[in-house]
Amino acid sequence: MVAEQVEMLLNGDFAVAWAWKHVEPDVVAAFPITPQTLIVEKFSEFVANGEVRTQFVSVESEHSAISAMVGAAAAGARAATATAANGLQLMHEILYIVSSMRLPVMLGVANRAVSGPINIHCDHTDAMGQRDAGWIMIFTEDAQEAYDTTIQAFKIAENPEILLPIMVNLDGFLISHTAMNVKVFKDPKVVKDFVGETRPVPKIKLMGEEVELSLNPRNPIPVTFGPFAYYDYYFEFKRQQIEAMKKVPDVVERVNDEYYEISGRKYGNGRVVPWNVDDADIVAVVMGSAAGTMRYVARKYRERGVKIGILRVRMFRPFPWRDLQELLRGKEVVAVFDRTQDQGVMGGPLFLETLAALYYLDDRPRNVVNYVFGLGGRDFPPELVEKVFDELIRIKDGKEKPFVKKYVGVRE
């Protein structure tokens, strides 16, 4: 049953903070960095006003923020933090440790270009630098989705079959600082019931005893976290993580469905959000807020009879390659849009992984091209989208030679 909700004017950062308020994590440790700052500022207000019982640890760096997450989550707490850009790069070392310890930490990222030169605006380079760290990665499209996904994130990560950390991405400024009417649950209890009042701490078998996978001193056998594993076992632990990652797609879909039950909102199958893809000749594959601009433009093209569809990839890790195979088979033109630095490679990460997925199809799309756009907050307005769509139409009609990669919006 859809629960009662109220509309609030919230930007993406505030939406994350409100989701945290409703989930009420045990520990939040964070360090300010634009454009994530509003998340921790708003949440600090909730803490200061006694509206949450969360321990807010105002750490001296992002490295310590994520390190405190490790300690807190290992102690059995529900733990959340947020960062962006260089802060995320500073966390990099520890991200791998979080996933290896199977700690379901929630990390909000207000995506921002990585220095240098220093820049505070949106691109996805920060998150893409972490794509092999063993985290679940979800990219949202607007503030509403940031609120919804933050709530879903805890339930996905803490699933006993999964136990992996999760990163919820929102485009810096474009989502983080852009206000919209966001529907939030009137009664936080709805959220608490959805994610569970407290984190379900998993049990493992240790020396014949069942123990909590935590630092609980009352465990019959104490747990050692983060030992030294040589070549004789390190690989086996990575194999375990891979196995957990395999189960994520189904869980993301299930949580998306369950969330629909209480909110009336769902995001495709949780992994990808197709818009008019089925009958499309041309499909644009994209992540983040740019999907909205593209749909806006594509709607006009549809009115003109151009069969164009937009496929938003919501879950980047694990990569939803089966969904892409399913949805993109036999298309005339697939254009993949990367908002990421792609130096010294054939194309951006979204393009390369899409390409790899499509390779195994018998009825591969006829053309697959890559556009890199929007670096350092470079605008991607409808006029630019139109130019790109016109180019794709020409490729489809055989009037223009296809290419591997182009840059959109840079002065050439």
Binding site: R102, D232, Q240
Partner: protein, 100 residues
């Protein structure tokens, strides 16, 4: 190295949690010299106990548990560092060449 039979990835706890105490790993074979206690000289002062880095000094207690009755070296773990012999105020511990 584990020194034990190697298990598959789905046969060990997740998160890299060790599943044996190190008491199952004997470090006694590191030893080139073995401490031998002369119980006639030993006053059970417990200096050897407190300074042993290997927790390899075993104390046997009197039946009421109030006093140490006998002090022994646990050769399963003693690495033969010689600290005990060196700190012993009674010179009651001799380091003897280990013969295997």
């Amino acid at each position: 190295m584990s020194g034990a039979e190697l298990r598959k990835w789905n046969e060990v706890p997740i998160a890299g949690v060790p599943w044996k105490f190190s008491t199952e790993y004997k470090t006694g074979d590191w030893r080139s010299e073995r401490p031998v206690i002369d119980h006639g000289k030993c006053t059970k002062c417990l200096f050897c106990y407190i300074y042993c880095p290997e927790m390899a000094i075993k104390v046997h207690w009197t039946s009421d548990g109030s006093k140490p009755e006998k002090v022994e070296v646990d050769y399963n773990f003693c690495k033969g560092c010689g600290i005990c012999a060196n700190v012993c105020p009674m010179k009651a511990i001799n380091m003897e060449l280990e013969r295997r």
